[in-house]
């Protein structure tokens, strides 16, 4: 066996190194110095994040089961950034009394799930993909259950693990059909096998596959676990779930649909996605309107956001892919900013409902400011990054040019009004509503501040500085082989 092909996966290797370092620190360091573990893990991961920006060479490895190209490289970096912010924000929380005893596991499991997502992104064989998927989802179940004292945490974990296994079972069923029809699990081979007449069994398989990935992306009607899990899980884990795993799943989804089913089945899955997007955005918004618990509220908002991300998938072209990755990046910054504020306030006061935020601007103007930026960015208000990502993803979707897509974009746009409504509700609570027993002024830890500042800069700059999107689109347009069969 040729070990040089490990050079194809420097990011995976680096991640494993980080994991090992954290593991060794956790295992062999004296227990009194374990307080430094969170910071240590964060710093090491930060270094890794920076190094992983070094370009990798394109190519396939391990019998073409694993592909690394510019797009996967960029996507992994995007995830790294998000992961770094999450770790940064979780430093203080990880040292709090309840979780301190298990802080090591927290970081190890987080890094493991990230590794699984890497596999999802880079896998070009369904075996690798499935392993990555499970590696990404199973540790998360334990992370959801991390708040040992809270019943909600465990209820959420139970719901999560049961539904997760169920969905993976369904997806595997679909995969077995695919295998039975084609006799292979390589993406490219399947693609070359299934050209020709449409078989019903493959349609079923496609539906099951979409449902399996849609579960990770929490698309309606496979989304119902989302709200409960987000609400019950520790806020750090929630933010991680809402952005990182979503992002990776979206990317993998794009690759599978375009590369595997792109050839002959594009109309079919585009139709399926069409229906799913419409109900996803709508249902997510409708639920979000009535939520008072902010974590639950953001859960539903993230459902509708997933619908917007799918607009990039349905476009199935280079612009759409670039817009989707760009959207994910912006979404990471915006959502992590929101969750960061929620986490800080929850850690200080334990309050998570909208009404608790009344008059927040008077007492904690900066937190309120960041939260407002996050809400505006999620709602797509210029000059913040969310506006650009929304515009570009609509642009990408509309590039396919048929009127049906325009109608879809119109539906999405009308939904942005509803979403704007509930985002503004939060702003209203913080800025307009007055409350004498508002959350008192407090100072947050410097790591949390750092995380929020990074998010704020991202929200403000990513849109105005065009180079990021330009780079992404340059990358995606270079993937000629991928879109060749569409």
């Amino acid at each position: 066996m040729d070990y040089s092909q490990f050079l194809m996966m420097p990011q995976e290797i680096g991640l494993l190194v980080v994991f090992l370092l954290v593991f060794l620190y956790d295992t062999f360091m004296p227990s009194k110095s374990l307080k430094g573990l969170p910071l240590f893990a964060t710093i090491v991961f930060g270094i890794f994040t920076i190094f992983s920006f070094f370009p990798v060479q394109d190519g396939m490895a391990f019998g073409e089961m694993f592909e690394s190209n510019k797009a996967t490289w960029a996507m992994k970096n995007i995830l790294n950034i998000g992961m770094f912010i999450v770790l940064l924000q979780s430093v203080k929380w990880a040292n709090s009394d309840f979780v301190a005893i298990r802080r090591g596991e927290f970081y190890e499991l987080m890094l493991l799930t990230l590794f699984g997502m890497y596999l999802m992104i880079s896998g070009r064989h369904f075996l690798v993909f499935v392993i990555g998927l499970e590696t990404a989802s199973l540790p998360l179940a334990t992370l959801v259950a991390f708040e040992k004292k809270y019943y909600e945490s465990h209820e959420a974990a139970a719901k999560y693990v049961l539904t997760a296994v169920f969905s993976s079972a369904i997806m595997l069923m679909g995969l077995s059909f695919v295998y039975g029809l084609t006799g292979t699990l390589y993406f490219n081979d399947i693609a070359s096998m299934i050209v020709g007449d449409k078989s019903l069994l493959l349609i079923v398989a496609l539906a099951f596959l979409i449902s399996g990935v849609g579960y990770k992306l929490s698309l309606v009607p496979f989304h119902l676990w989302t709200a409960d899990v987000y609400q019950g899980a520790p806020t750090m884990v929630t933010s991680y779930l809402s952005v990182i795993s979503k992002g990776s799943a979206a990317f993998a989804f794009f690759v599978i649909l375009v590369q595997v089913f792109g050839a002959a089945y594009a109309p079919i899955w585009e139709w399926m996605l069409y229906a799913i997007i419409v109900i996803t955005i709508t249902v997510g918004n409708l639920f979000a309107i009535r939520q008072r618990n902010l974590k639950r509220f953001l859960a539903f908002s993230s459902i509708s956001q997933a619908g917007y991300i799918m607009l990039g998938v349905i476009s199935a072209n280079a612009v759409g892919m670039a817009s989707m990755m760009y959207y994910i990046l912006v979404y990471i910054f915006s959502n992590l900013a929101a969750f960061g504020v929620i986490a800080v306030i929850e850690r200080k006061t334990g309050k998570v409902t909208t009404d608790d935020y009344n008059g927040l601007f008077k007492t904690n103007p900066w937190l309120a400011f960041v939260m407002m930026l996050a809400m505006f960015s999620l709602g797509g208000i210029p000059p913040f990054a969310g506006f650009f990502s929304k515009f570009f993803i609509f642009l990408g979707a509309a590039q396919t040019g048929n009127v049906a897509i325009y109608v879809l974009v119109l539906i999405a746009l009308v939904n942005t009004i509803i979403s704007l409504y509930y985002y503004l509700l939060v702003v209203k609570a913080m800025f307009i509503r007055q409350d004498e027993c508002a959350i008192p002024a407090f100072k947050s830890h410097w790591t949390e501040k750092a995380g929020l500042i990074i998010c704020t800069l991202g929200i403000i700059l990513i849109g105005l500085v065009s180079c990021i999107y330009t780079g992404l689109s340059g990358i995606t347009t270079s993937l000629t082989s991928m879109f060749s069969m569409i």
């Binding site: 506006f387 642009l395 040019g401 746009l413 942005t416 009004i417 330009t470 689109s473 340059g474």
Partner: protein
């Protein structure tokens, strides 16, 4: 970068610098805040006046290009989105108007309380959007600045407003954003048909108009989208209903800026994007929107007749006047369109004046219900006379701006060969009587007659800052009314391209 050698960009940079300066001030340091705000506003006015002079000079020296001061810097290279600047006569006068209103607005909100710093921050963010909208000729940047100008409204009304403010603010924001949702779809559609087969797509309005590549059946979809999108902001019937509540709840300066400048974005966009880029559909579907705007002219005037809240009266009269703007734009000839721009100027200044005075009166009497006031002319003659002048401007007294604008519109509209349009024009002219009715009704109830409330006898007349802000506007109104040709000469020729485009598809 060559972009900074173009003076237009400074219309955006100055507000941004002002924002930065305000951000540096202390929350309590009210004097510093005022100083920064006034400096920024004054700089804007100076720059705007210089721009007018520059424009006249350029035209005088034989620069006949459609737009002067054109600069184009690539922003989003893969989508061919550029930061393209350029102004013609219409944008020049619009910028001048905006600068004046911002200037007057700063003084009108002199005693803003609470949180003056945040107020001015949002205030200048809004003006950033407004100026950016007027200076840019790129669909994307226009749309971006458009929304930048819209969103601060929510907090400006919600935090500093009065009455049922949260409801009004939410309604206003959602309706305007709903409009801009249609607009966004329209812009995307235009973008993908902006160039003939094989050529690179573009967002630059001038290039799109030059390519003239939008297929006719697509124009049928895109024209209503864009026109309604802007029409919502232009208070077109039946999408005007945000205006009364919004204006009633908004603080003075915000009402001034909103009615004075923001509603103009609607009219400007309607002609600059909807009609200019899709002349065929404009010719085909124009009659629908013409009917709607015709309705809103008379409708707004009639509804204003029975209101009792000063701000509601002006909101409805704004519906009527802005309806006249869109009405004239849809007449597709130079005279009417020139009249439309004059009407924008006139309505902007006049309504700003109205809202400023209302704010001052409200600040003293703490009521806006005309049934509870009376004989204020005895008590505050300066404000009273100002209000009468604003009223005369609104009902079109010669020598003030309203008359010039309305007459240009009527004459231009009536010149149209199409009988339907002529009859509509006749219907629209009736508004001058109804306007007189409700204006005189208010003046009679509010200023004349005996003093209703004895407590009002102790009230004071306008102070220095208030006099500055009102005098500025009154002067501007009188200047437009007395020397209309100066403005008409700036404006008229800017309509040559759009009129040519419209006539070419007939």
């Amino acid at each position: 970068m060559e972009i900074f050698s173009n003076m237009l960009i400074y219309f955006v940079i100055i507000p941004v610098i002002t924002l930065a300066g305000l951000a540096l001030t202390k929350n309590k340091g009210i004097d510093a805040i005022r100083a920064v705000a006034v400096t920024g506003a004054t700089a804007l006015v100076a720059l705007a006046i210089y721009l007018v002079i520059y424009f006249l000079h350029a035209r005088a020296t034989g620069d006949t290009s459609d737009m002067i001061l054109q600069t184009s810097v690539t922003w989003y290279e893969p989508l061919n989105i550029k930061l393209a600047l350029g102004v013609d006569g219409v944008s020049v006068v619009m910028i001048l108007l905006s600068a004046f209103i911002v200037f007057a607005g700063v003084f009108a909100s002199w005693k803003m309380d609470p949180l003056p710093k945040q107020f001015f921050l949002w205030f200048f963010l809004l003006s950033t959007g407004v100026f950016g909208f007027f200076i840019s000729v790129d669909l994307f940047t226009m749309f971006m600045f458009y929304e930048v100008a819209l969103i601060p409204m929510y907090l400006l009304i919600g935090v500093w407003g009065s009455g049922n403010k949260t409801y009004s603010a939410m309604k206003l924001t959602l309706m305007l954003m709903g409009g801009s949702a249609f607009l966004m779809l329209g812009i995307i559609g235009i973008y993908f048909h902006s160039a003939p087969e094989g050529q690179p797509l573009t967002m630059n309005i001038l290039e799109i108009a030059q390519n003239d590549a939008i297929p006719h059946q697509w124009q049928y979809y895109l024209f209503p989208l864009t026109f309604v999108g802007f029409g919502v902001l232009g208070a077109m019937f039946p999408f005007h209903t945000w205006s009364p509540d919004g204006h009633a709840s908004a603080p003075t300066a915000v009402s001034m800026l909103h009615a004075g400048v923001l509603m103009k974005l609607g009219g400007y966009g309607c002609f600059r994007i909807a009609i200019f880029l899709m002349p065929f559909a404009a010719q085909q579907l124009g009659w629908i929107f013409l009917t709607l705007t015709g309705i809103s002219i008379v409708y707004g005037a009639f509804s204003a007749c029975v209101q009792t809240d000063l701000k509601y009266i002006n909101a409805y009269s704004s519906v009527s006047h802005c309806g006249m703007v869109l009405f004239a734009i849809l007449m597709f000839n130079k005279t009417a369109m020139t009249g439309a721009v004059l009407q924008m100027l006139s309505h902007g200044l006049m309504t700003a004046l109205f809202f400023a005075l209302i704010g001052m009166i409200y600040g003293r009497t703490h009521t806006r219900d005309i049934r509870e006031m009376g004989g204020l002319m005895h008590i505050m003659p300066y404000l009273g006379v100002g209000y009468v002048i604003a009223g005369f401007a609104s009902l079109g007294l010669p020598g003030l701006s309203g008359f010039v604008a309305e007459m240009t519109i009527f004459v231009g509209s009536f010149e149209h060969q199409d009988m339907f349009r002529r009859v509509l024009t006749i219907a629209a002219t009736t508004s001058i009587v109804i306007t007189a009715v409700y204006i005189l009704r208010v003046v009679g109830k509010l200023l004349y007659g005996a003093v209703q409330d004895e407590h009002h006898r102790t009230l004071t007349d306008a102070d220095a800052t208030e006099r500055i802000s009102t005098a500025t506007l009154i002067l501007a109104v009188a200047i437009i009314g007395c020397f209309p040709n100066f403005f008409i000469d700036i404006i008229r020729d800017s309509f040559t391209p759009v009129v040519n485009a419209l006539t070419s598809v007939m």
